[in-house]
Symmetry: C2
Subunit: 309 residues, 2 copies
């Protein structure tokens, strides 16, 4: 089944203890699309500027990603500059130029209308909602958000949450949305706002899948599931790890005949796998060069890392 | 096989968001011994004061813990007062009265000499080393330490590390010992100081087992193993969770005919299980009332929480 993703296609300049990368192809929709493309067909809705050339286009083409929904606008693409020199786990934003993204009006090609899966990457919740409403036929909708929207655009975000099946966020974002520091209680509060499934990402410690029908009496077990992350000896650039996780998670789910509990569990592992690959090179470099065989090899390594027998 | 543990038997007064507990029976050796007692025979070396009465003795007796190595000294037992009101994951120490612990000279009963396993709980590394050297016949030695010894007693601590097979510490302690923020690199540096096995505890995110012979070329997989922690809806008192983890981990290992890789993996799960129980009541209350059936039930819940099939 095919996934439509709406989000940013951008250029990033990133500094980490491993070095510096200038204007590499990035953006949440790019990471998501490349990651998911290893599992299923992906279609992108975004806007880029005149600096998005044949080299960038060829990255999407090489992964058979449908880019008919990427609008070319006069001006420059979204640009972000960040540094991880102080803390490899948290980017310090040095510069954000919205450029053509400032006036982004998502346009959905007619050919995308039969997508069964929709991913609303981290953008203005007003736009997320507009795309969600324009694609009423989708079977499963997942989304992401960030501290900025949680703090300053809460009413619009709450509208988006109502329409989500799956929300993927990190610990801090879950605690912020819920106003509760206990992760299990926060998860329950977030799911009460809409999403039936909640994936909370713990960075290098993995991720937890919560389900709103997890039996209260039985405690936190039930349908809760925890996938590991790989302890990485060398993190080159953590940018996009969360979007790559989402791409692996949602891409794998879309590749399955039914979103069964078992499929969700394996999807959590594939998410972790894709997130770990993303960190191994600057920008989307590692995802660009990846093979499905490498993905499955790491999937088995993760299994080995955490399974008793 | 039996375990001898040396460490503190103490009284704690603890405040958490869930309430306050006055002078409850605590101390690293107490948590460790009660936890390990569900798996194997445990013998304790410690010192207590005149405030350690029949009620406290009966807690050890009920778990068939050998207390012949607990010396009764004139004065009061070690007392600690802490608060988790600001941060449930990190205690703020309000008061530490060493009392009889100030002059602690571990005395090892002759009957303990045939212990195959030795656990050096978090005490002055000079004492840890003395006990280690007095028990040359043990097969497997594990130990713990804390930021205070790492910062201010490094030479003595390094001597202890040389004699350890297994070191159990948390992320911050591993990074402090190694002077390296990358956990995989820090693990390797710590193991280069002595212990062949290193268990790094990640609090609510579980724990990772590293082994010094993990193949470099194969990357971080190999013998690395990650056990989950249970997402807990309600943490009453996290004091002693690490010591309870150590008791479950080492107690289970000691109960096995051989410390095989499979036994180490299951031991990591049992450690996580015992750590999660410890948090459910103040002090050692939950461990006092626990049954082996509850332990095995949670072991299977942990398996369910993290296993794909």
């Amino acid at each position: 089944m095919s996934i439509t993703v709406v989000g940013s296609v951008a250029f990033d300049t990133v500094e980490t203890p491993a070095g510096r990368s200038e204007r590499c192809l990035a953006g949440a929709a790019t990471y998501f699309a490349l990651s998911a493309s290893f599992f299923t067909d992906v279609r992108v809705i975004a806007v880029v500027g005149e600096d998005f050339g044949p080299a960038e286009q060829s990255v999407f083409d090489a992964h058979k990603v449908d880019t008919r929904g990427i609008e070319r606008a006069p001006g420059k693409s979204f640009f972000w500059q960040g540094s991880y020199l102080d803390n490899i786990n948290e980017a310090k934003t040095l510069r954000t130029d919205l450029n053509v993204f400032a006036g982004f009006e998502p346009k959905i090609p007619a050919a995308y209308a039969d997508s069964e899966f929709l991913f609303l990457a981290n953008i203005d919740p007003v736009l997320q909602r507009r795309v969600r409403e324009a694609m009423p036929g989708v079977k499963l909708v997942a989304g992401d958000t960030m501290n900025y929207w949680i703090k300053d655009h809460r009413p619009a975000l709450l509208e988006v949450l109502k329409g989500l099946d799956v929300l993927l966020i990190n610990d801090t974002e879950a605690r912020m949305i819920a106003g509760n520091n206990n992760l299990v209680q926060a998860a329950r509060a977030v799911m009460a706002l809409g999403p039936r499934f909640l994936v909370i990402k713990h960075g290098e410690y993995g991720a937890t899948l919560f389900h709103s029908s997890a039996p209260k009496a039985g405690g936190p077990e039930g349908r809760t599931f925890r996938a590991p992350a790989m302890p990485l000896e060398r993190v080159i650039d953590p940018t996009g790890a969360g979007d790559s996780f989402a791409g692996g998670f949602f891409g794998y789910l879309a590749s399955q005949p039914e979103p069964t509990p078992g499929a969700f569990r394996r999807a959590m592992f594939y998410g972790s796998v894709m997130g770990s690959f993303a960190c191994e090179r600057f920008g989307t470099e590692r995802l660009q060069q990846l093979t499905r065989a490498e993905i499955d090899e790491r999937f088995h390594a993760f299994r080995e890392l955490t399974h008793l027998d």
